[in-house]
Symmetry: C2
C-alpha cells in the first residue's frame, strides 16, 4: 500500500512548471498543428491549451534525461485514454535525443453503476479513498449487480457475475485468491448467494482497506512535502 | 541608464513558469484555435508551441493581480509586432476578472544597413551593448548612409539624412538636442559635412554611451540575482 518515499518524487504540473516547460517547448516545436489535429481531432472551437497539452503531458517522460544529462529511460503507467499523447511523445523523442518512453496501460476501474470507468464526477458510483464506512455501505448497497429482481428468481435462476459491479470489485482488487473468486462466481450463478450477502461482504473488505489506507494517508501527510519534486536532489 | 533595482523584478519565462503557467492555462481556455488562427494566420505546419504562445505572452500582464489577489493594472511596453498577443489578452481579461493591460508601443530601432529594424541575427548591421570600441568603429564605418558615391558629388549635391542610418541613430538616441539635429541635417543636405565625419562623430557618441553602459552592466551583475522574480516579495 503506497510508494517508497525514498524513491518517490511527486510532480505537480502547475508547481514544477519551471522544470517541465523548457522540455515542453522542445517537444512543442516538433509537433505541428496538423499532427495534433490528426491525433486528437481538434476543431476550430478547441482551445489553445488543449492543443498544446501533449507537450506538457510528454515533458515528465524526458525530465530524468534533462536532469541527469544522460539518457534515462522512463516507464509511464497511465490509462489507455492517455495513449495518443505518449505515442506523439515517442515519435518526437529521437529528434530531441531523448529515449522513447515505455508505457504501461492500467485497466480502468469499473464504476458501481456498472459503467466501464469509475469517474470522480459521479459520486454515487464512486468510492473515494476518503469515504467513511457508512458512505461505503450506502454506495455498495446501491451498486449495480447481475442479480434478479426477486429473491425467488435469484434462487431459481442465479445471478450474472459478468456484469456485476460488486463481482468486478472483487475481481480487480478485493479478492486476490482466484479460487475463492471462482467459488464466488459459481455460487452466484447457482443462486446460492444473494446480492445482499455479496454487498455486505464487499463493504467489509472495502472498509478494512480504507481504514488502513486512511491511517497511512494521515501518516503520509507529514512526509508529503519531502516527496515534492525539487530537481532530483536524491 | 537602467532601472531602479528596488522596483524591478526580472521574469524569465522558463524559470518563472510555475507562476506564469497557471495564469496561462486560464487564458488558454478562453482562446479558441479559430480565434488564434484568425489573429496569426496559423497553418497546418504551425507547431503547437506557437499556437499556445499567446497564453504565455499574456500571463505576466495578470501576474500582479494573481499575486496580490486584487486588481493590479499593468502597462506593457513592447514592439508593435507583439500587439496581436496583447489584443487577444485584452479580449479575455474581463472574463477572467483581470484588468485589461495597457500597451505602449516602442519604435523599432533601425539597423545600420538601412533596414527598418535592428536585428540581433544580423551582426554587421547591429551594435551590441557588449561591442568593443573597435567593433563599433568598424560597424558604423560600414553603415548605410544617404551620401553620394564621391566627395565631389556630395559637396555639390549634398546627402539625404532621411534614409541615413547614421542620422537615424542620432535622431533616435544619440543627439537629444533637436536644434543640433536640425543643423546636422541641414549641413548634410548642403554638402557641408561628409559621411565620414558623421560616422566618426557617431562612433564617438556610441562608444561614450557603451563605456558607461558596460561599466554599469558589470556593477549590475552583483545585484541581478536579487532582481529575479520570486513571488513579489518586495
Amino acid at each position: 500500500l503506497g510508494f517508497n518515499p525514498e524513491k518517490t518524487k511527486i510532480i505537480v504540473d502547475t508547481k514544477c512548471m519551471h522544470k517541465l516547460y523548457p522540455i515542453a517547448l522542445k517537444v512543442a516545436k516538433k509537433i505541428t498543428f496538423s499532427t495534433a489535429k490528426a491525433i486528437f481531432g481538434f476543431e476550430n472551437s478547441t482551445n489553445i491549451g488543449q492543443i498544446f497539452f501533449t507537450a506538457i503531458q510528454a515533458a515528465p517522460a524526458f525530465l530524468g534525461t534533462e536532469e541527469y544529462g544522460k539518457q534515462i529511460p522512463t516507464l509511464i503507467p497511465c490509462g489507455i485514454d492517455q495513449d495518443p499523447h505518449f505515442r506523439a511523445c515517442r515519435d518526437v523523442a529521437p529528434g530531441l535525443n531523448y529515449p522513447k518512453p515505455a508505457t504501461m496501460y492500467c485497466k480502468m476501474f469499473p464504476g458501481l453503476s456498472g459503467a466501464d470507468k469509475m469517474s470522480s464526477s459521479d459520486e454515487n458510483a464512486t468510492i473515494y479513498t476518503t469515504d467513511t464506512p457508512k458512505a461505503v455501505k450506502k454506495k455498495v448497497g446501491r451498486a449495480f449487480t447481475g442479480g434478479k429482481s426477486t429473491v425467488e428468481e435469484q434462487r431459481a435462476e442465479g445471478g450474472n457475475p459478468e456484469i456485476c459491479a460488486v463481482y468486478k470489485y472483487n475481481f480487480y482488487m478485493f479478492e486476490k485468491d482466484d479460487e475463492k473468486l471462482e467459488e464466488m462466481a459459481r455460487k452466484c450463478r447457482n443462486g446460492e448467494i444473494l446480492c445482499g450477502e455479496c454487498k455486505m461482504c464487499l463493504t467489509e473488505k472495502i472498509n478494512v482497506f480504507l481504514e488502513e489506507h486512511q491511517a497511512k494517508r494521515e501518516e503520509a501527510k507529514e512526509i508529503i512535502d519531502s516527496m515534492a519534486f525539487d530537481g532530483f536532489k536524491w
